[in-house]
């Protein structure tokens, strides 16, 4: 199957793929900073005029979401999978029997 071969090829050249991604990231930030390409008149606030503002926003946002969510989860929200199970009933859960 061609699709499997394509994925396999990309996995076999993972370093090149990662380098390519880094180049794309840098390129996007650079292009966004060029006024001739990206007109910042559409910016909603002054802070958006800063170079790479949205890149920092995305990265910091992502890190914040992960850290805050994990902290929240470990504060007692994440519990074992059988938390709601009735422990007195030891019967096995039947498997999916969909046709």
């Amino acid at each position: 199957m061609n699709l499997v071969k394509l994925i396999e090829f990309l996995r076999n050249h993972l370093k090149a793929v990662v380098r390519l991604c880094c180049v794309v990231l840098a390129l996007v930030v650079l292009l966004a900073a060029i006024p001739a390409i990206v007109d910042k008149q559409e910016a909603h606030t002054e802070i958006e005029h800063w170079p790479a503002f949205w890149a920092v926003f995305g990265f910091v946002g992502c890190v914040l979401i992960i850290i805050v969510s994990k902290w929240f989860g470990h504060a007692g929200i994440m519990v074992r999978e059988d938390y709601y199970e009735d422990t007195r009933n030891g019967s096995a859960i039947p498997k999916e029997h969909h046709d």
Binding site: L3, V28, Q41, G58, C62, I65, M78, D99
Partner: protein, 634 residues
């Protein structure tokens, strides 16, 4: 006056009933035919200019004027996408042999379309409840013990929402004298309006009334979730657009929703529950859009609902295919499936890129309208927080779901690996069409924008500006960078997350405990009290009565009987041998007794009703003057 109007839902209801008698060899064709007819019926509905509406299918019932077919631009755009999704969902589950499951799905869709074209609250409520009671079967048909519980919880929560809606609408309509369902006076909201809003936002899964959604959608059948992810919440969004545009409280609620779903998605181990949390997040954008209430925001809410139905349906199809083929939906039980299910991966990735609002995908042209409306209304916090939620969406649905199912370091069990394969052709076909539509909407904006309630405002909006494209690309690509840098933190744990359903799930246990211990003890105490204070004295009384009956009553009766027997024995000797003599003697005694009776009684016959006479009374009249007077007075 009653006018006939072929309601699109009627095709689904009749089609669902006839499905029971359709022969097995024609069933697949029939399953496609009915949704196609519904879609065609909606396409043939009249196109109405902005700001106008057509009232069709009017029915006079008791003192109410029901409107089954209110057609305007808002109802048409929702009707279009609902019927299209019905077609895709049915195609996806075409190989499912359980006819009742198809019937439940069609009745559910019929309920949704019925709500969308309802012109009054009564019709809306009727179809609203029909949705809840038909969709629960899509959960129960999975057949697991957990599904049964999840279905009951789903039903109970929706009954609560339905009651809030019913109470609110009765209160509101009695106060206003009209049952018409139009824009409500949200700037002077009464308690009745808030009750209606609670009914709507419960179906839209607005926290804290949201926990039913991941609970139910994670437990539904593999194709049941595909239907469920599209209809309940988006019908609620339609109802909010119709009645609550500009309701300010919906703006913060929508933003909270958008972020709440993102936070819980980080913690989730089940891919379908993760997608369910992202429904909450995405519906948050729409709810916020309704709260903003401007033409741009309402356009955005409708456009996002339209795009969301397709890409979320696609995502549930992808994860449903994994569940259907491997029997697993937990990230900890999956991994490395790219070799076995590559096309499912591609389709799911397209869904992930669409929900993340990547340029050229559907979410980009719809979500940005709501964010722009927030900035235009000078609510900067709305815009920035919704963009933050957008980063979270890509983090999970665009990256976490595909990575941990199709790649990752986790190795599934041998049994899971052996079962894994590309799904049947119909599932792939449904995913292919949904993927194509996601890309088409993202690339050719007029297709969607021309259908929106305010087409002129939509025509002026251009999502593909350099600033917007680069803003989005930077946010999403650097979110991707954060994902791969912190991937160790994102490795799923085999846990579940406590949510608001804890209150009623544990509350239910507390209720059982209350019923089992304190209530049962009180019941036992009252039972004992009854036994000592009531039953024992009653038994004693019964015993005394029995003794009285035995010795006094029975003794008297036996005594009388014995006496009469003795008299009879003695009288036996008085009788003559000849019959004539005996009769003469008997008549003589009888005559003597009658004469004595008439002579010594004052008015013995006065008690007889008028017109009644004693036999022989007239004959004895001349001889019995005193008694004769009595008789003649009658």
């Amino acid at each position: 006056m009653t006018s006939f109007w072929l309601h699109p839902s009627l095709i689904l209801f009749v089609g669902a009933l006839l499905l029971l008698v359709v022969p097995a060899r024609l069933r697949k064709g029939y399953l496609i035919l009915i949704p196609v007819l519904v879609f065609a019926r909606i396409l043939t509905l009249p196109s109405v200019p902005e700001g106008q509406e057509l009232l069709l299918g009017k029915v006079d019932f008791l003192s109410w004027k029901l409107v089954f077919g209110r057609v305007d631009r808002l109802s048409n755009v929702f009707g279009y996408i609902m019927s299209l999704m019905c077609l895709l969902g049915t195609l996806y589950g075409l190989h499912v042999k359980n006819r009742v499951e198809h019937m439940a799905a069609w009745i559910y869709v019929g309920g949704s379309i019925g709500c969308i074209y309802a012109g009054d609250f009564i019709t809306l409520f009727l179809f609203w409840e029909l949705m809840a009671f038909s969709s629960v079967f899509l959960i129960w048909f999975r057949g697991r013990r957990e599904s049964l519980g999840a279905g009951y919880r789903y039903l109970l929560v929706h009954v609560f929402g339905g009651l809030a809606l019913l109470g609110g609408m009765v209160w509101h309509c009695n106060a206003h004298g009209s049952w018409a369902f139009n824009q409500l006076d949200v700037h002077h909201a009464t308690p009745a309006i808030y009750l209606i809003m609670i009914g709507f936002i419960l179906n839209a899964a607005v926290p804290p009334l949201h926990a039913w959604l991941p609970d139910a959608y994670g437990e539904a059948t593999f194709n049941g979730s595909v239907f469920m992810c599209a209809f309940t919440t988006k019908t609620a969004v339609y109802a909010l657009c119709r009645g609550f545009a500009g309701m300010e409280i919906l703006v913060p609620l929508g933003v909270i929703m958008a972020l709440y779903g993102v936070v819980y998605a980080v913690l989730e181990n089940d891919c379908r529950r993760l997608l369910a949390y992202h429904i909450i997040s995405q519906v948050g954008y729409m709810v916020a859009g309704v709260g903003l209430g401007t033409a741009m925001a309402i356009n955005g809410a409708c456009a996002h609902a339209f795009a969301h139905i397709l890409y979320k349906g696609l995502l549930f199809m992808g994860c449903g295919a994994v569940l259907h083929m491997t029997g697993e939906s937990k990230f900890t039980e999956l991994g490395g499936l790219w070799k076995k299910m590559p096309w499912t991966f591609v389709f799911t990735l397209i869904g992930g890129l669409s929900i993340s609002a990547f340029p050229l995908f559907s979410g980009f042209v719809s979500k940005s309208m709501i964010v722009t409306a927030g900035f235009e209304e000078h609510k900067l916090w709305v815009g920035y927080l919704l963009l933050l939620a957008s980063a979270g969406t890509f983090l999970h649905t665009g990256l976490k779901v595909p990575y941990f199912i199709w790649f990752g370091k986790n190795k599934p069990k041998q049994e899971t690996w052996d079962r894994a394969a590309e799904p049947p052709w119909n599932m792939n076909a449904a995913m292919l069409v949904a993927s194509a539509l996601c890309i088409f909407i993202g690339c050719y904006t007029p297709y969607l924008y021309k259908m929106l309630p305010h087409p002129e405002v939509a025509a002026e909006y251009h999502p593909y500006t350099a600033y917007h494209v680069f803003e989005t690309l930077q946010i999403l690509l650097f979110t991707g960078l954060g994902f791969f840098l912190l991937i160790k933190k994102l490795v799923p744990d085999p846990t579940i997350s406590l949510d608001m359903d804890w209150f009623y799930r544990k509350g239910g246990r507390a209720f059982y405990w209350l019923a089992k211990y304190p209530v049962q003890r009180v019941d036992t105490f009252i039972g004992e009290l009854y036994r000592y204070a009531g039953l024992i004295p009653l038994m004693l009384t019964a015993k005394v009565s029995g003794l009285f009956d035995n010795y006094v009553i029975d003794g008297a009766v036996d005594g009388f009987a014995e006496s009469f027997r003795g008299i009879g024995r003695r009288l036996r000797f008085a009788q003559r041998g000849q019959m004539q003599q005996n009769l003469a003697f008997a008549f003589a005694v009888a005559a003597a007794l009658i004469v004595a009776f008439l002579l010594f009684t004052k008015s013995p016959i006065a008690v007889l009703p008028v017109g009644m006479h004693l036999p022989g009374a007239q004959l004895s009249q001349p001889a019995l003057q005193p008694a004769g007077q009595v008789l003649t007075t009658q």
